[in-house]
């Protein structure tokens, strides 16, 4: 008599009622709702750092060592107002984009060869092992010898700095494509190049995009370093040259302004171009998660 089962009769419901009204969700307080936005939280972090900089700069009181944020912003505004900075930024970006596109195109060609032929694979593996650890800037003296002082040398070192890390990433992405997806792609009998373009490349896109980001950063660094080394080219020099010449004139706030511009362009590239590219592709396709 002490078994529960006897007191628990079986039952079958003839009709199940559906919940009639949508359940109301409680709204979070304003503060918590604001804190849920990444942009607001990150903006707060930047504001705090800016305040710390300004405070410390004022306590040092020496523009030659650490200019205050306000004087840097003033210098930044001035350099934009007199048209010097936009010209410098344009020169750098123009050079960088040309080097970037060259590097990306070469990386795609090299990795396509590597995945379709065994010789190409051996070639890529050996070349990336050789050239990836080699700082592109170390090739600048050679490049100057070959292409002379000017855009040719810059293009060479920037493209070189982008090609190898990107090729490495794309190749790793190709190799990580699942066997099922490969067979599903080969099933209709695609030609090798069509197979790479229509199956492997989109399937490896998360790796490709991360390679593009790394390549962008490498290209930027190399370009600025190259400009710092040999200064102005015939077209008038870029941001690196701006920083270099302002340091010679001991206009330190302007040096900081130049650095700030590099950081801002990097942030814009990450936040606008790459994020948008990811949102429209890999996130939309469910290949990449997270915010």
């Amino acid at each position: 008599m002490n078994t529960d089962a006897r007191h628990r009769p079986d039952f079958i419901l003839e009709k199940i009622e559906k919940p009639g009204v949508a359940l109301l969700t409680a709204r979070l307080p304003l503060w918590q709702r604001l804190m849920r936005h990444d942009a607001i939280r990150r903006g707060l972090v930047i504001l705090v750092m800016a305040a710390l900089w300004e405070a410390y700069g004022r306590s040092v009181g020496n523009d030659l060592i650490l200019p205050t944020l306000s004087s840097v912003l003033k210098a930044l505004f001035r350099s934009f107002a007199d048209g010097v900075m936009p010209g410098r930024v344009w020169n750098s970006l123009d050079m960088l984009l040309r080097g970037y596109l060259t590097g990306v195109a070469l990386a795609i060609v090299v990795t396509t060869l590597a995945i379709t032929t065994r010789l190409g694979n051996d070639l890529l593996t050996t070349l990336t092992a050789m050239f990836n650890p080699l700082p592109a800037i170390a090739l600048l003296p050679l490049a100057l010898l070959w292409f002379g002082i000017g855009n040719g040398s810059l293009l060479f070192v920037v493209a070189h700095s982008i090609l190898w890390p990107l090729a490495l990433n794309i190749h790793a992405g190709y190799q990580g494509v699942s066997e099922t997806l490969r067979m599903a792609g080969r099933n209709p009998g695609l030609k090798p190049v069509a197979y790479v373009a229509r199956v492997l490349f989109p399937a490896a896109l998360p790796s490709v995009i991360s390679g593009l980001k790394i390549g962008w950063a490498f290209g930027w660094r190399t370009l600025i370093a190259a400009e710092l080394v040999f200064g102005a080219s015939s077209s008038g020099g870029g941001i690196g040259w701006f920083i270099f010449s302002k340091r010679n004139d001991l206009e330190i706030p302007d040096v900081f302004a130049g650095l700030l511009v590099i950081v801002l362009i990097g942030l814009a590239m990450e936040g606008l171009v790459f994020r948008e590219l990811e949102r429209r592709t890999v996130r939309r396709w469910g290949m990449l998660r997270g915010s």
């Binding site: 699942s178 099922t180 997806l181 067979m183 599903a184 792609g185 080969r186 099933n187 209709p188 009998g189 695609l190 069509a194 229509r198 199956v199 989109p202 399937a203 896109l205 592709t281 939309r284 396709w285 469910g286 290949m287």
Partner: protein
């Protein structure tokens, strides 16, 4: 591998092959499949022969390790046999082609960057005679047949496992292949969804009468889906029996057949242990 080298071997199944006057659509003849595993060469199947005729629902049944999936991939043209030949409409199978569309077990067989419609249209680039409009219409009607019309513009990651497999079947069927290759397409599904998809597949076959080669390790799935069952023994895969499972079999007759197959598979396991 030259075709004439196969002449040296008399395929085991050749004597018992009950082929009528009609030539087989797909003829697998003394196929041995080997693949390297570390330093060793593993033999997946050993001189397997069978014929698939038009409108067959031909099942390759066997325990794991009998090489049934490898056999299907060889028919698909993904693996080259080390011995023997595979002929489709009397043409030697040497590489993957749109006349043999494959449905895989894994859910990741759909391209994540294409919608369901895009996925179904993807292999159609191999059909150069079909116009773009034609391809679209065929894809839409194929999607409708598997009941995914509402999800034609969804991406694969938005679908459930059963819906993904339906989409994969639609993609393969829309190509109107000579033979549809199914590699345990329902194995990764839950039991309820599997039953539903098996019934849907049979209904589709009733409408379209395609030829299919279906790999499974489920005896109940074999008798439910198949019209003809090839039983393979493991390590290496060899033909154990070929049994008919006519559509007019009632539940009792199917049970008897299942019992017969079960005994066969367990018996071959015991003999394997004796070695």
């Amino acid at each position: 591998m030259t075709p004439c080298s196969t002449a040296a071997f008399v395929p085991q199944g050749a004597g018992v092959k009950a082929s009528g006057g009609e030539p087989a659509l797909l003829a697998v003849d003394g196929v041995t499949l080997q693949y390297p595993s570390g330093k060793d060469l593993v033999t997946a199947t050993w001189r397997v022969s069978f014929d698939v005729h038009h409108m067959d629902r031909y099942i390759l049944l066997g325990p794991s390790g009998c090489g049934k999936s490898s056999l299907l991939k060889a028919v698909g043209g993904f693996i080259r046999p080390t011995e023997g030949s595979i002929r489709l409409r009397n043409n030697l199978v040497q590489k993957p082609g749109p006349d043999r569309m494959m449905v895989f077990q894994e859910f990741d067989q759909l391209f994540p960057w294409l919608t369901v419609l895009g996925n179904v249209m993807f292999p159609m680039s191999a059909r150069e005679s079909w116009s773009l409009r034609d391809r679209r219409d065929r894809a839409i009607s194929s999607i409708e047949k598997v009941g995914l019309t509402q999800f034609a513009d969804s991406y694969p990651h938005q679908l459930s496992g059963g819906m993904k497999q339906r989409a994969a079947i639609a993609r393969a069927m829309a190509m109107e292949p000579d033979v549809l290759l199914m590699d345990e397409p329902f194995a990764a599904l839950d039991a309820l969804t599997r039953r539903r998809l098996q019934d849907e597949l049979l209904k589709l076959w009733d409408d379209l009468r395609f030829t299919m080669l279906f790999v499974t390790h489920g005896i109940d799935e074999a008798t439910r889906v198949g019209s003809r069952i090839l039983v393979l023994s493991p390590h290496p895969g060899q033909v154990r029996a070929e049994l008919a499972c006519p559509d007019d079999f009632d539940a009792g007759q199917r049970k008897v057949l299942e019992q017969q197959i079960t005994e066969m598979l367990f018996e071959s396991k015991e003999t394997a242990h004796e070695h």
